[in-house]
Symmetry: C2
Subunit: 190 residues, 2 copies
DNA sequence: TGGGCTTTCCTAACATGATTAGGCAACCTG
DNA sequence: CAGGTTGCCTAATCATGTTAGGAAAGCCCA
């Protein structure tokens, strides 16, 4: 019985790759065991259960995405930063659909409090710095940006824009222009 | 063996209610059979399989949502219509979380082509009529609206806004104001 | 180098869910 | 009320998730 060298970290990494290949839904302990050439029960020394595994993949993806975003935003401001941030988000989803799906896995409170969520919020705020929005407007704008990115990419990856003209790239570009314009003229009274 | 009177329609309705109670994920043939006091195998005369059942619930929810939206939008225009439409969407999600989750179930091409998707698109365009946007800008704007509503409500129901001030209602109101302003001044050149 | 400890993976077993095939009884139709 | 249809059941199979306990592989130290 040659040992394969399972680790929690290795399972999560393999889980992320598996999710991109066959979908996050189908990334199960059984499937990972198959890929490692190991019995399913053997995974249970390294992950608590299936839910725990998925949470791990979700946190891994969130961190990876935050890494990319923070690199893209560094040294940019205003519209440049907005576009760079948005594109990181969208490109990640198109390149890694399974990991992107993982970022939407509902996290319990403790998991959600862990690093990644906070990093994403901080970056949104950093981008908005260039638009000089006072609170509470800044928070509302952060929520709008999160909604647009999450919503657009979610609809796009679900195939929502693929059967009609114009192409998705055009809409994306124009929407980012529109968001930039909106942030520069954000209405501060109802 | 008293007959319970299972029907496809009845199963889908019960499925929608079950989804709101215990979540769309957990709305399975087995669970529905339990609720009808029937053996699981008995459902298979009425639905093809679990996936088919979920697709049915998704289409049911999409139609129900389109009904509400079309009623809300009737007789309104411009900002009024925008706000009414947006609130129908959000209220539906808060009131019927399971059905809302169902609307995000990935549909295969044939199911997606069926009525509901078309109705939603038509309503978005009807709302934008009041803003006088020419193509292709109108399509881009339709996609933006869909993204914002879907994204915001998705994040909200996932608990994204519940642990920070200000409250979600305030953000929602301000975001709708901002969208209205954006649509009135939509930038038509890059 | 070899004995013992720890860790890793395995076997065995069970629960739950999805699904199919075939049977009997309840309802409708005439 | 006889006959056919339909609805629900029994029985069986297969996949996945999960737990408990065993055996052996690798590491530590004499």
């Amino acid at each position: 019985m040659a040992r394969v060298g399972l680790t929690t970290e290795g399972l999560i990494r393999a889980g992320a790759e598996t999710a991109d290949e066959i979908g996050f839904e189908r990334t199960t302990p059984t499937e990972l065991a198959r890929r490692f050439g190991v019995k399913t029960a053997s995974l249970y020394s390294h992950v608590k259960n299936a839910h725990d595994l998925k949470t791990g993949i979700a946190l891994f993806a969130l961190e990876e995405l935050a890494d990319r975003a923070s690199e893209a935003v560094a040294g940019r401001a205003g519209k440049d930063a907005l576009i760079a941030f948005a594109n990181v988000y969208r490109d990640y989803a198109l390149e890694h659909p399974g990991r992107f799906a993982a970022t939407r896995f509902p996290l319990d409170a403790e998991a959600a409090a862990s690093g990644a969520g906070v990093r994403h919020a901080q970056m949104s705020r950093a981008i908005l710095r260039g638009y000089h929005l006072a609170e509470p407007h800044q928070t509302h704008a952060v929520r709008l940006l999160g909604s647009v990115f999450s919503g657009y990419v979610g609809l796009e990856t679900a195939g929502g824009f693929s059967h009609s003209a114009p192409g998705s790239q055009e809409s994306w570009t124009e929407i980012l222009n529109a968001l930039d314009a909106l942030l520069r003229t954000w209405p501060t009274s109802s």
